[in-house]
């Protein structure tokens, strides 16, 4: 009986190992807007301002977790190369949103609906298919309510980035709102 159990165990382990071998390289890769900090920063700033406050998406437990200067900071130990001035690295501190935080925000946004995002980026689907777009417009239930209507600066900022445009002018307009 014991021998049978051992044989089963070995077979299961071998099967698991073979299953891992079967994963094709790049199977988890998605097509998404490029991670370009120059283009991403203004869009991320809008997301940080409108979505990433500590009582909303600036919380570790929240889907679409957003890091940023005025919200949740990415956990970093003292001396981290990601942080320029650690004394100012707190929620509301002077250390601006770091590159590491930008990258994490990028991953948060892209990982929500990666396949649909790939379609939107390839312009084979409208941005309306994305939950992130619909929630901000309150076309889908959203605890945070209406952020902007279709065509308003915040909406254009978001859809431009999602479709790969580098025109971030409307992000600055949105950030200028009181």
């Amino acid at each position: 009986m014991k021998t049978t159990n051992v044989i089963w165990f070995v077979m299961v382990m071998m099967g698991g190992a073979m299953g891992c071998d079967g994963m094709e390289a790049g199977a988890n890769e998605i097509v998404a807007p490029p991670l370009d900090p120059v283009v991403l920063r203004p869009f991320s700033a809008v997301m940080e301002r409108r979505c990433g406050t500590l009582d909303c998406h600036g919380h570790v437990s929240r889907p679409l977790r957003i890091f940023g200067q005025y919200g949740l900071r990415r956990p970093e130990p003292e001396g981290s190369p990601n942080v320029e001035n650690y004394a100012d690295y707190y929620s509301g501190g002077k250390e601006q949103t770091t590159l590491a935080e930008l990258e994490d925000n990028y991953r948060s946004i892209c990982a929500l609906e990666p396949e649909l995002l790939a379609d939107v980026f390839a312009k084979t689907a409208s941005p309306d298919v994305l939950t992130i777009v619909r929630k901000a417009r309150l076309r889908e239930k959203h605890k945070g309510g209406l952020l902007w209507n279709k065509g308003e600066p915040g909406d254009v900022c978001m859809t431009n980035w999602l479709t790969g445009s580098t025109d971030m002018a409307q992000c600055e307009v949105e950030l200028g709102h009181p």
């Binding site: 301002r49 406050t53 009582d55 005025y70 707190y90 929620s91 509301g92 605890k143 009181p178």
Partner: protein, 188 residues
Amino acid sequence: MNQTSHVVALLVALAAGCGNRAVDARIEALGEEDPNVRRGEFHRPGQPCLLCHGEYERNEPIMTVAGTVYAFPTSDDPLPVEGVTVKLTDAFGETFEKNTNCVGNFFITKEEWRAAFPLRAELEYRVPGSLESTRRVVMSTRINRDGSCAGCHVGARDQDSPGWVTCAETNLDPPFPPRDANCSGEKP
């Protein structure tokens, strides 16, 4: 059991299952009441008021926004400031003001104001040593959904908290007046 008993048992079970364990755990973490402070406007300064006085627990009075204002950032024993005007503006541009009491607490009840989030918040405090001069402090972000100041502003400044709600960055010269010895209320 007859059919009525089954229905009652089912309703009780359903009601018991409707709690929010995450909120329950946060309430439990607040600890017991200070026996030296009666329940009321002076109790539990620095704690997230709406955990109990919100729509979940519905302890009276039910509040829209509530919190505690201190003098300046510190890692322990923050100094409460009395008479600070907390001015809030909601999404429709409607404003509401409330003053802090001697433990720094203020609260706005649901009957007084049903705010439409997000809210803009600012403080106006009397400059210590001056009879008429005041200063304004504007919150850098909006309050999007949590009416408890201490839902986010808790403890010292950290990577997940901007620290207590304070009037100034450091103590001023002349300094903020010390805590009123006759004031009821516990320290956070």
